[in-house]
């Protein structure tokens, strides 16, 4: 431990890591494999065939025949993109005010966000549902976006990020006569890009993966997001696991690609954010 890792310890560590890899990633690979198996192949074979005998993309076309999976993906994409924009803009504006501006009522405004954080979304979904119906927004994608449009946690994350900036960086701008808006856009915002990226990734993932709220607020199957649509696929066509597998691969692939590209930001921010938040 003191100077270098012994060969035994190294071997043991890699062995354990490979074991955990099999447990965490294995199920996804198994699903991918199932989705590529043709209808002539026995997917219940014993012992299980880990690799498809003759890989085929037929199941991907098949799942699109049964549910409008691309339409659902587009719905999910719209919801997730909107969620990213509203969260990044709204949370950075509010976070900046809480961290860097002096005004009466600042403490109460901060408390409002903390209070919102303490209310589990699961315990207000019925009230939100009733509210959307009264606003005649239920069964629209707008209703899916609105409750999480600006997350209290994101506001507090941005507040922490702005609060950690040294005051000197804004002082020069103040002397130059820059107003609040100019200081925010030109000086403060570029300095918190890392946290902004984390908020953006979380907003995208949160919206893309959300299940309970879209399940409650959406009723017309044309408006389903991917998660709700897949649930439907699961219920109706359980008999053909190949199609279900193809659907899940379609739902998970874009996220995994995005995650692989942005994981550097992610790992830096998730730990920080979780501990601070």
């Amino acid at each position: 431990m003191t100077t270098r890792t012994s060969a035994w310890e190294k071997a043991l560590r890699y062995l354990l890591m490979l074991g955990v890899l099999a447990v965490t990633v294995g199920p996804f690979l198994w699903q991918l494999s199932t989705s590529l198996k043709s209808t002539t192949e026995d997917i219940y074979a014993y012992p299980p065939n880990l690799l498809p005998e003759q890989p085929t993309l037929d199941n991907y076309a098949g799942v699109a025949d049964i549910i409008p999976v691309w339409r659902y993906a587009l719905n999910s994409l719209q919801v997730a993109a909107a969620n990213v924009v509203t969260n990044v803009v709204g949370a950075s504006l509010a976070g900046y005010a809480l961290a860097r501006l002096r005004f009466r009522g600042r403490r109460i405004a901060g408390l409002a966000f903390v209070a919102a954080l303490l209310v589990p979304l699961e315990s207000i979904v019925i009230a939100q549902f009733t509210m959307m119906r009264d606003l005649q927004l239920n069964d629209t994608l707008i209703a899916v976006v609105l409750p999480g449009a600006i997350g209290a946690l994101n506001v507090l994350l941005m507040r922490n990020a702005f609060a950690n900036l040294p005051y000197e960086i804004e002082e020069a701008a103040v002397i130059d006569g820059a107003n609040v808006w100019q200081r925010f856009v030109r000086v403060a915002l570029p300095s918190v890009r890392g946290t902004l990226a984390v908020v953006a990734i979380f907003a995208f993932m949160g919206a893309w993966d959300d299940f309970l709220w879209p399940l409650i607020v959406l009723s017309d199957s044309d408006n389903f997001t991917l998660t709700v649509g897949l649930n439907f696929l699961h219920g109706t066509f359980q008999q053909n696991p190949r199609l279900v597998a193809a659907g899940t691969v379609i739902a998970v692939a874009p996220l995994l690609v995005m995650f692989a590209c942005l994981q550097r930001y992610f790992f830096r921010g998730v730990g920080e954010g979780a501990v601070k938040g």
Binding site: A97, F103, E122, I126, T130, D209, L215
Partner: protein, 300 residues
């Protein structure tokens, strides 16, 4: 223009008082409208007999009395409670061990870290569908069991096995997420502590108990608080594995599933579902306070 130059100080003051609120407006508006206000209406509706299409009238504590006699409520409370009891110890301990495994800088370790995070990135619906297929009577796990000479296990047919499967899924999904939190905490543990203990001849287990655990204890409490609240609110895993009706005879229903089932639909009992929501809120808050309090006591 003239007036502007005559009273710059006053204008600046107004500007300074107003502009912070312009910055706050979108965030505060959304949070007030879609988080805080619905919470207040939930509290109000909990004491009414509101239905989906009727606002309802004040009925006092009747919803809560009905709850005491509702068999499904007790089943759901039991399941959500069991979920906390069985899931939390594993989500506190396993991710810590995992973090220790990938904490050391070895070639390729960043790859393993991101790979372990995969289940967190994937939507719970996707994950539950994958597990449903693996746990199927003829699925991969039973294939492996048969290979080992054990009979097929009806993971999704028995109410208890189903609940345990959902719990295992929850633990599995949380591994990567809590691992990251622990990694951040481990980064702050001074290396010298370990080295000193190693020089004193402490073995790996001894170092874990007397150096690592005390150093990350507050993080363990945080993970305990976060995971107990989220375990208590479990919805998707059980809903997807057991189906909307909650498994055999509804025996796998959880509290949030009950809220969703009773409160939605054309004839949803909004008042009763709101009362259930208040119970969810109260217990979640108590769990959080309980765990955080336990932490403070130990500090003294």
């Amino acid at each position: 223009m003239d007036r502007h130059s005559r009273r710059p100080a006053s204008r600046a003051r107004t500007h300074r008082a107003v502009s912070p609120w312009l910055f706050l407006l979108p965030g505060l508006g959304i949070v007030a409208a879609f988080n805080l206000y619905p919470f207040l209406t939930t509290v109000h509706k909990a004491f009414t007999d509101a239905r989906t299409l009727t606002p309802g009238t004040w009925v006092g504590l009747r919803n809560f009395q009905d709850m005491l006699e509702d068999e499904q409520f007790w089943v759901a409370l039991r399941n959500s409670g069991l979920y906390v009891l069985l899931v939390v110890p594993f989500t506190v301990l396993l991710p810590l061990l995992l973090a220790l495994l990938v904490h050391k800088q070895l070639p390729g370790v960043t790859f393993f870290r991101s790979a372990f995070y995969t289940p967190v990135v994937a939507s719970v619906v996707v994950v539950a569908l994958i597990w449903g297929w693996m746990l199927d009577d003829r699925g991969l796990l039973n294939g492996i069991l048969r290979f080992l000479g054990a009979g097929p296990v009806a993971f999704l047919g028995d109410e208890w096995l189903l609940l345990l499967s959902a719990m295992a899924l929850t633990v599995w999904r949380g591994l990567g997420y809590y691992m990251i939190i622990y990694l951040a905490a481990l980064a702050n543990v001074p290396r010298e502590l370990h080295e000193a203990a190693a020089v004193d001849g402490a073995g790996a287990l001894r170092r874990f108990v007397s150096v690592t655990v005390p150093a990350v204890r507050s993080t363990m409490v945080l993970v305990g608080a976060l995971s107990s609240v989220s375990a208590f609110k479990v919805f998707a895993e059980v809903h997807l594995l057991a189906g909307p009706t909650g498994g055999p005879a509804g025996q796998d229903t959880t509290l949030v599933m009950l809220v969703q089932r009773t409160g939605t639909g054309l004839n949803g009992r909004v008042g009763y579902a709101s009362a259930l929501s208040l119970v969810v809120f109260t217990i979640a808050l108590l769990l959080m306070l309980l765990v955080l309090r336990a932490d403070r006591k130990e500090d003294r």
